[in-house]
């Protein structure tokens, strides 16, 4: 029997996950700024407060630190909170709750206390917003033991990884990127999956080159791979999906096959996700598996500018990925 498919875009897929969770699980609640606003978080949370009540969908004072800490505390009391930070930049006010409390609670209570909460941070770049409305800080959270970090690149993952995150009993940082919100796909009904079993996935097979990405970077990689195909290069694309704990087995297997590695990340280079993936792969292969040194595509090591021309130069696009990929062959 054919499964019934529903058309979503990335943002309505997120909305569908919220609706699924709030309808099915009475212990789920959502807290964050802008949740009673029709436009604050795109259309990814529209009317949740009307459907599920303002008791369970809580718009808050301007208090990221207390609200995130409160979600940690509520999770210890058995609820499944989702905290929403409409821009990751503002989430930095909540670093104590995330890094000192949520990440360490299980460990320092000897595995007895469990902050099972999800912290949704939205990357909201471009639009000449500049340095404090644009950051992609996944590497910070990927660096901290005790957190889980997920970055969906597909419409299916936008919905299903959010469901898995909320049902997980560990603290999860779920990061979505507004540049992906118009991506469209047809999805079957939600299947609940254990986040602990979710791994990097190969989204496109190829022979000559492995391109690794996450979130919007995976989209760039897929778009670049199409063009590379036309230019005679067969690129395999691996989507990391889960950045912490980082499992690079799929990447290693791919690199052993292709002999070339390019990592694309939406953050900065130094001490970042791309560098971590490259190191981790190098540690697991023979150097002779590689035909050429690995490369990465990341942001220039500067905050985001506001001026239109500089902003255009700042963000890697499909062509940046294509150029970096070609350099692995022709330099």
């Amino acid at each position: 029997m054919m499964q019934k498919l529903t058309t979503y875009n990335y943002s309505t897929a997120i909305l569908a996950a919220f609706e699924y969770l709030l309808a099915k699980y009475p212990d789920v609640f959502v807290i964050g700024q802008g949740l009673w606003s029709p436009w604050y978080v795109g259309n990814s949370m529209t009317d949740l407060d009307k459907k599920f009540g303002k008791q369970r969908v809580i718009d808050t004072p301007v208090a990221e630190s207390a609200c995130t800490g409160a979600a940690v505390g509520a999770s210890l009391a058995g609820l499944k909170p989702i905290v929403v930070h409409p821009r990751l930049d503002f989430m930095l006010y909540a670093m104590d709750a995330i890094v000192n409390q949520a990440a360490k609670w299980s460990y320092m209570t000897g595995g007895q206390g469990h902050p099972g909460l999800t912290i949704r941070g939205i990357i909201n770049r471009g639009g000449e917003q500049g340095a404090q409305h644009s950051q992609a800080l996944q590497a910070w959270f990927a660096h901290v033991p005790g957190l889980r970090v997920v970055m969906p690149a597909t419409v299916a993952d936008a919905r299903d990884l959010l469901v898995s995150s909320v049902l997980c009993k560990d603290p999860v940082i779920y990061i979505d990127d507004r540049w992906l919100y118009d991506l469209t796909d047809d999805l079957p009904p939600v299947v609940e999956r254990d986040l602990r079993q979710e791994r990097a996935k190969c989204l496109r097979e190829g022979r000559d080159l492995t391109i690794v990405g996450s979130s919007y970077s995976t989209r760039l990689a897929l778009n670049a791979a199409e063009e590379l195909e036309r230019r005679g290069i067969s690129a395999e694309v691996v989507d990391l999906r889960v950045l912490n704990p980082l499992d690079t087995e799929a990447v290693v297997n791919s690199v052993k096959k292709t002999g070339r590695l390019l990592v694309v990340d939406g953050g900065w280079g130094p001490c970042g996700v791309a560098g971590e993936v490259i190191s981790s792969v190098i540690e697991q292969i023979q150097l002779t598996d590689l035909k050429v040194n690995p490369r990465r595509v990341t942001l220039p090591f500067a905050p985001a500018p506001t001026a239109r021309n500089l902003e255009k130069a700042y963000y890697p696009d499909k062509n940046s990925v294509i150029s970096a990929a070609e350099a692995l062959f022709y330099l």
Partner: protein
Amino acid sequence: MSLMGDEFSLRRLADPAEFHSELRLDGTPPERLRAYMTDMVRIRLAERQLAAGRRDGLIGGPVHLGVGQEAVAVGVSAHLRASDRVFGAHRSHCHLLALGSSMEGLFAEVLGRDSGHSKGMGGSMHLWDQPKGFYGSVPIVAGTVPLAVGAGLAAKLQQSGDIAVAYLGDGAVEEGVVHESLNLARIQDIPIIFVVENNLFASHMHISTRQPKDSTARFAAANGVAHRVIDGNDVIAVAAAADELVHAARSGEGPGFIEAVTFRWYGHVDWREDIDVGLYRSAEELDNWRRRDPIRRLKDAMLKTGVWTDQDDKSLMDQLQKEVEAAWTQAIHAPYPDAGALLNRLYYQEDRR
């Protein structure tokens, strides 16, 4: 009115020459009084043991001792139940023990043993006994305050009638998140009691060097949170304030704030008295504060009314001293965590409690 007027001044409460005499018992039932006495002495002897263990090098990590402050946790806990959600900070042995938590579990934890409350993974500064209502303590100043607000929010959403308690100090109110937390608790009518143990010092810094006023209740007032400023070395007064505010919180009236003025007899950390550091902490002042001893003042009142005898006192000391010795012996002979604990307690695992 001057901005620096007399409002929110602790006045006599901060004067160590005051409040030395016996407590007014206000008709408190004898069994309640005996329970206060037992709980306070139990905490004091346990902390004395920890001070000795640290001094003698048997405890490897820092211990922040609350000797002299026992009445606060004991008075508050008198109105709590096991399903309430209590959070502490760096000086929380007393908060834990006042909930009836095992002394051996505390000792073993401070000694880093597998049988400790946090399975040896937390030490003195990360205590946990959720089955008794102790959700956790951490040494990041004010770190658990928003967590307690959230546990209270959960109680509200769960309609359980439970409340949260956040123990914090006068230093913690200098952290921004406390103000966010008071505001959030009020605007959401969260059932939580903020208990500020104002012992006048943050580490070596006297409150007069850190804040323009010495009463932290001004922050409760600013957020519309019901508050009581009391002698924190008077267990009867603490219990009365807790009774009132806990009842209000359970009845849906939202947060309460108790400022309990007290003093720690030891220094900020470990067994020394710290009369040689910072400002305002002289041997004479400490001596005066010792005369505001919460245990001695309760005992004097109980002896006077005949609720307590010298024989009762001796029996209690004997009994508790035995508990301390037995708990310490058992704890210090307990094994350390397995080597596997280094990595396998990071995430939730179904096979563990």
